[in-house]
Symmetry: C3
Subunit: 207 residues, 3 copies
């Protein structure tokens, strides 16, 4: 696989980040609809789901105003996701599979984008893994707390675990001089682990 230049990698990371924003905004909006929130509540929950993880990541990185506030594409993408969730009734058993699939992809996208961005900021492997994880699950956790659900990270299947492994894959590949491979492998491993864990009811040992 030909290595991407740093600029292109940054562009790829942004595109991947935005894909995660859209997917999570749709998911957050769908959840809001199921909870019978009104249209402002739906948009709020969609925007939080879509941008919360990145906002926490950027705030912790302290490298200036979070990208979700300076790059209009983020909020507009989140609003588009909210619009989709508002217009299309994303409910019922027919939607279960596609939603899980999108959710799993978004998890991989964000773990990759978070870990990648942390490394680009000059921080080491350990914070990169942590911020990959936080980016991937942060928005969903805030969303779940607000509607008083059990946070998705404690839901029993591989969720935080999948994001953790995806972040580690990105960090290891980047250290081995293969950042492009890391991005692709991270998304695949993160989304794959999540989907397999649902399909086969994988759980981790209890503490």
């Amino acid at each position: 696989m030909a290595a991407l230049s740093a600029d292109t990698l940054s562009e790829v990371t942004r595109a991947i980040d935005l894909a995660g924003v859209f997917a999570n905004a749709v998911l957050g909006g769908a959840l809001a609809a199921r909870e019978r929130l009104d249209v402002v509540g739906l948009v709020t929950l969609a925007v939080i789901s879509g941008t919360g993880g990145g906002l926490i990541r950027d705030t912790l990185l302290q490298r200036g105003t979070p990208v979700a506030l300076t790059d209009y594409a983020y909020l507009l993408t989140a609003l588009a996701g909210a619009g989709v969730a508002f217009l299309i009734k994303v409910e019922g058993s027919a939607w279960r599979r596609p939603l899980l699939f999108v959710d799993a992809l978004a998890l991989g996208f964000w773990a990759v984008a978070g870990a990648q961005k942390t490394l680009e900021s000059g921080l080491g492997w350990l914070p990169a893994v942590l911020l990959g994880l936080i980016t991937a699950v942060g928005g969903g956790v805030v969303r779940d707390v607000l509607i008083r659900r059990v946070p998705v990270i404690f839901g029993g299947t591989l969720y935080a675990g999948a994001a953790l492994v995806a972040s580690i894959v990105v960090v290891v590949c980047t250290r081995l001089g293969q950042p492009t491979l890391g991005v692709a492998a991270g998304v695949l491993v993160g989304a794959g682990l999540r989907l397999l864990s649902i399909q086969f009811h994988w759980t981790l040992p209890q503490g």
Copy 2:
């Protein structure tokens, strides 16, 4: 209406911000008293209600230490609000109306202060609207999560919606070269919408 100078506008924004701090601290303290929290719990909840939204706004803006930590007026005002809530039993039906009125005013104050400050920081209209909303509802949401209530933004009436419209009014007026008018109109529209929505049981369509 004569336009205010930038410095005066900044002073007006601060005064309005502080009025919101006081009102929300009283409200948070009153809620703590109703929940039978002890005096430290009451002060904690009052300070969170009174400064939480601004702390989140300033942390996201990343323009230095949040004003609530550097300008003593903020914490002292929040403590004064806690004191009022501790000394006066803000309970019973006689208090319902004045509390709702103060709450509505505070909502307008903070939406205006948040949107105004974001524009002053050089960010665009979309983050200004978002941070106006977050300033207005952030402290109340954190307060509600801590005492495990349904967050006020999902309460069914125009709350986040009123803050959203107030923020938009500020941004539009400022863009039209009328920041002073924007401040006044934003507070009026935000507080007015909130009060009218309670009076007439206005609700928004569900998602």
Copy 3:
């Protein structure tokens, strides 16, 4: 008591901060085990308990990336605490006393570290007291919100109150030119008040 140099004091603050990280990570992990979370959930809760308060403090201070992300000792110490909680079943009545003791010490450690660090950042006494309190209780509050417990600060005994007094002791001693004494006295007073309040069922008047 001989005064420590500024550098040594900074080192002492770091050691005290890390002791708090370890203690709270063990406590968070033990709680996760009691809640039957899986191993990733346990590690997550331990890391949040161990680093959450400091992350909130450093993010609010806006003096660069939080120390928990730049100084590896923090995350590694939190992970070590998670490991202890995973390997040793920290449950049953035999563990109740030691856990309360460690918890009380950690409360004092963090109130001291938070107040001390805020003063070192050049902020005044009021934010120092507030950030001492936030450092001491922040991680526990986020942990409790995530597992949907009543936040520890509203638990009825002197918890936030003990942290508050410890922070005030540090600030007063430092103002009197006795920072070293302040560190020692703050830890003793914070931990002591907490333990005494449990032993003698001290409660504060309700609001």
